[in-house]
């Protein structure tokens, strides 16, 4: 049996640079969501997002290299540097693979390119921007920076991007094609994505009765809040020191009732993914000690998830909803993973952010405050618009 040990974490998050600061953010119970000042939100319904502030890429990347990178690449390369520093020891070596998740990729770079295209013409737009407009630019910079010559893929499965990247990286590690792997996620809040999601009513907004906020599982939730940042993790099968946690299983499924851009209505699809991950880990539902939920404050996705959780688990283990801290798509979903990994390592669950009152048909509540608890297995869910679902089991011991 091969081990999949998480040996290093790097985080560039809204309200937290580095894993210690991220721990503090989660402990504070305070949301990192604030007013958007990066672009004009006048005329839109939503005005808030979880933005990375106080981030100086020069702290992580030499200036000459930085000039070649867009914001997404800077987030990702910095998070990887932090993860490798956190891991310590000798570098992982050339036989290391990279799987990065991102829901939307470098949309801003495409917009910047098209602006130049319009202003200067199709022949004179800057090639540098084109090179950075591909979704795998961050993964490529990571490989170049650290000489990593194993597989290099960029997974783009909406809310599930980071978990799907973790799944591929883990599969390669157990298959033995690489000695070590990096996985993670990266996302950027920009005007294009913000305005489109706002136009279709996907974003949380104030409507007279409620203010604009991320409220995972709360009955007054009315949309997600966008988040950004990057998180990276080092995976290896023979860790030199005690790892944060082990990855022990994955499951995926798809809700066939989902439209091409919305969540569906069949919670059994979520049950199938969770059950498959639990089976893959070789455990039973009763051995899941906590769930780090996908819940992102949208009506349909959160309902699907609580119906699924209460259908599979009796009793329902403690459920933690983290997206009230840093929004949805934050680090392509990787900040939620980082929170779950820290929970396992610290044997302490985080307080859920943004929840007050449940729907009538919801039979549990996400835990309201931080709690020290014996944790052997944590289930992490991701439910994507379009119907894709990926679940992962983290364990204290290798399974």
């Amino acid at each position: 049996m091969s081990h999949i040990a998480i040996t290093g974490i790097g985080v560039i998050a809204p309200g937290a640079i580095g894993v210690d600061a991220f721990r503090s953010l989660l402990r504070s119970g305070e949301s990192a969501i604030g007013d958007v000042d990066r672009f004009d939100t006048a005329g839109l319904s939503a005005h808030r997002a979880a933005l990375v502030r106080n981030f100086n890429p020069r702290d992580f990347i030499p200036p000459m290299k930085m000039r070649r990178m867009n914001a997404l690449s800077r987030f990702a390369v910095s998070a990887v540097k932090l993860a490798l520093d956190d891991r310590g020891g000798d570098p992982p070596g050339a036989n290391t693979g990279v799987a990065i998740g991102t829901a939307f990729g470098p949309v801003q770079t495409s917009v910047d390119y098209m602006r130049e295209y319009v202003e200067k013409g199709a022949a004179l737009a800057p090639p540098q921007l084109f090179a950075e407009s591909v979704a795998n630019a961050p993964g490529s910079h990571i490989a170049i920076e650290h000489g990593l010559r194993g597989f290099n893929v960029t997974v783009t499965q909406r809310e599930s991007s980071a978990l799907a990247a973790a799944m591929y990286a883990s599969a390669q590690l157990v298959k033995g094609t690489v000695r070590a792997a990096l996985f993670g996620g990266v996302e950027e809040v920009n005007e294009m994505i913000f305005s489109v999601l706002d136009r279709i009513g996907a974003l949380a907004h104030s409507n007279g009765a409620v203010d604009e906020r991320s409220r995972p599982f709360d009955r007054r939730r009315n949309g997600l809040v966008l988040g950004e940042g990057a998180a990276a993790f080092t995976l290896e099968s023979s860790p030199a020191h005690e790892p944060y946690a082990y990855i022990s299983g994955f499951g995926m499924s798809r809700d066939t009732t989902a439209s091409i851009s919305d969540w569906g209505s069949d919670h059994n699809a979520v049950v199938r993914a969770m059950r498959a991950a639990i089976d893959d880990a070789g455990i039973e539902p009763s051995m899941v000690d906590a769930i780090y939920a996908s819940a992102n404050s949208s009506q349909r996705a959160d309902r699907l998830e609580y119906l699924a959780i209460q259908s599979l688990f009796a009793p329902v283990p403690p459920v933690v909803a983290t997206k009230g801290y840093f929004g949805e798509y934050a680090a392509g979903g990787a900040l939620q993973v980082a929170a779950a990994v820290l929970a396992m390592s610290d044997q302490t669950l985080h307080a859920s952010a943004g929840f007050e009152r449940a729907d009538d048909e919801m039979r549990f509540e996400p835990i309201p405050e931080s709690r020290g608890i014996a944790l052997d297995n944590i289930l992490v869910n991701s439910i994507s618009a379009g119907g894709g679902i990926v679940s992962m089991v983290l364990s204290r011991e290798s399974k």
Partner: protein, 405 residues
């Protein structure tokens, strides 16, 4: 986590393809046998001028070919529709004769470089350039590169999961490799795996500003080659565990034996000149397949100075100097994120028909391109095993190995 079991054999039971030389696998193969390229003047962006004006476009009404209701089709990008056309053909072929595929347990794995960027550009022009704050957003929803997988899954009622990757021009190769791993680890029971990409302004302009586009139809490995010809299209394979395919009574078209994936870790857009990443991907594919020899290589063969030279070196190092090699991009251009899928389907067709496709327009090979590139005419030959190469920006390389049944 269950490990991908390399002793589990993977069957290809369906292929589907749409590109400039055909709307299905029969049409594509006929064009290849007739040595008929699908490269012409760019028509997709009327009124806009680019330094070059050649492309390999898919003609015809893609929306009608996708067999999707009007309202649903309006929400799909061109990349999504191309994906649905190809995936439908692949699934139909896989269902031909045997018990139907258990699509409720199938996954869709798609590689795409741009997804619905074409439609994103439309929104961009209206909102950012013209300043219409309430520009219609319905099709922009399909901009994410997850959209083609989601569209195929929706059209075919797939319930096992969706995975998308955007690993530039290596995307579809990675999608096929991933899918095979998940079949071998039993995280999925059937996989519809491939890629899709529609031509869009950003890539057409972008490769031009990189000066990587040949003003004439591309001539891979040629002495006069000046770059790529941009194309578009989609292709999917249906992959199943061998025993499941047999139990279903399916006709097995070929075996998918394994793949290798690597990264040059060299440069954001240029390949490593010594071809080390490409070589490592091919070696990985050979090792995973347990193959002793390779009868034919369907090359990445883009027609750029750097790729064709580096790939030639890599093939010599990994396989040898005598293996026949060709670039089917000389037929349908570089279809970017779809290339790995389109060329995997062409490779499977080659194995089925025991005929290697030619490299068109290869007058004389360049001095640094010293292999047998099968010029001009298809070559009937013994094809027990064939390798399909696909490399991309960011130095990502994937090599897929197929075997005759």
């Amino acid at each position: 986590m269950r490990k991908p079991d390399l002793n589990t054999r993977i069957a290809v039971t369906g292929v589907g393809i749409i590109c400039s030389i055909g709307r299905n696998s029969d049409e594509v193969w006929r064009s290849i046998v007739d040595a008929r390229a699908g490269i012409g003047k760019l028509t997709r962006f009327p009124g806009e001028t680019f330094p070059t004006d050649i492309a390999a476009e898919v003609s015809g009404d893609v929306e009608a070919m996708a067999l999707i209701g009007g309202r649903e089709a309006k929400r799909m990008s061109r990349s999504d529709l191309l994906a649905v056309v190809a995936a439908r053909e692949a699934v139909q072929q896989a269902n031909d004769g045997g018990q139907p595929l258990p699509l409720d347990r199938a996954i869709v794995s798609t590689g795409t470089s741009t997804g619905g960027l074409l439609e994103g550009e439309g929104y961009f022009f209206e909102r950012i350039v013209v300043g219409r704050r309430r520009a219609p957003a319905s099709r922009v929803l399909q901009q994410p590169t997850s959209a083609p997988s989601d569209a195929v899954a929706r059209a075919l009622k797939v319930g096992g999961g969706v995975i998308s990757n955007a690993t530039a021009c290596a995307s579809a190769g990675a999608a096929i490799g991933m899918a095979a791993d998940y079949l071998r680890s039993r995280h999925a029971d059937v996989a519809i795996a491939g890629g899709s990409d529609a031509l869009c302004r950003l890539t057409y302009s972008g490769f031009n500003v990189l000066q990587a586009v040949d003003p004439q139809p591309c001539s891979p490995f040629g002495a006069e080659r000046k770059g790529i010809t941009l194309g578009e299209g989609a292709a999917y394979l249906v992959l199943e565990r061998w025993d499941d395919a047999v139990a279903r009574g399916a006709k097995i078209l070929a075996e998918f034996c394994g793949y290798g994936a690597s990264c040059d870790a060299h440069h954001p857009t240029a390949p490593a000149e010594d071809g080390r990443g490409a070589e490592s991907a091919m070696r990985g594919a050979l090792a995973e397949s347990g193959a002793e020899r390779v009868d034919y290589v369907n090359a990445h063969g883009t027609g750029t100075l750097l790729n064709d030279s580096a790939e030639t070196r890599a093939i010599i190092s990994a396989i040898g100097e005598t293996v026949p090699v060709s670039s089917s991009k000389s037929f349908f251009g570089h279809t970017l994120g779809a290339a790995g899928g389109i060329e995997a389907v062409v490779t499977v067709l080659s194995v089925i028909h025991q005929t290697a496709p030619p490299t068109l327009r290869l007058g004389s090979a360049a001095p640094d391109c010293t292999l047998d590139y099968i010029p001009h005419e298809p070559r009937p030959m013994l094809l027990n095993s064939a390798l399909s190469n696909t490399f991309g920006f960011g130095g990502s390389n994937v090599s897929l190995m197929f075997r005759r049944v």
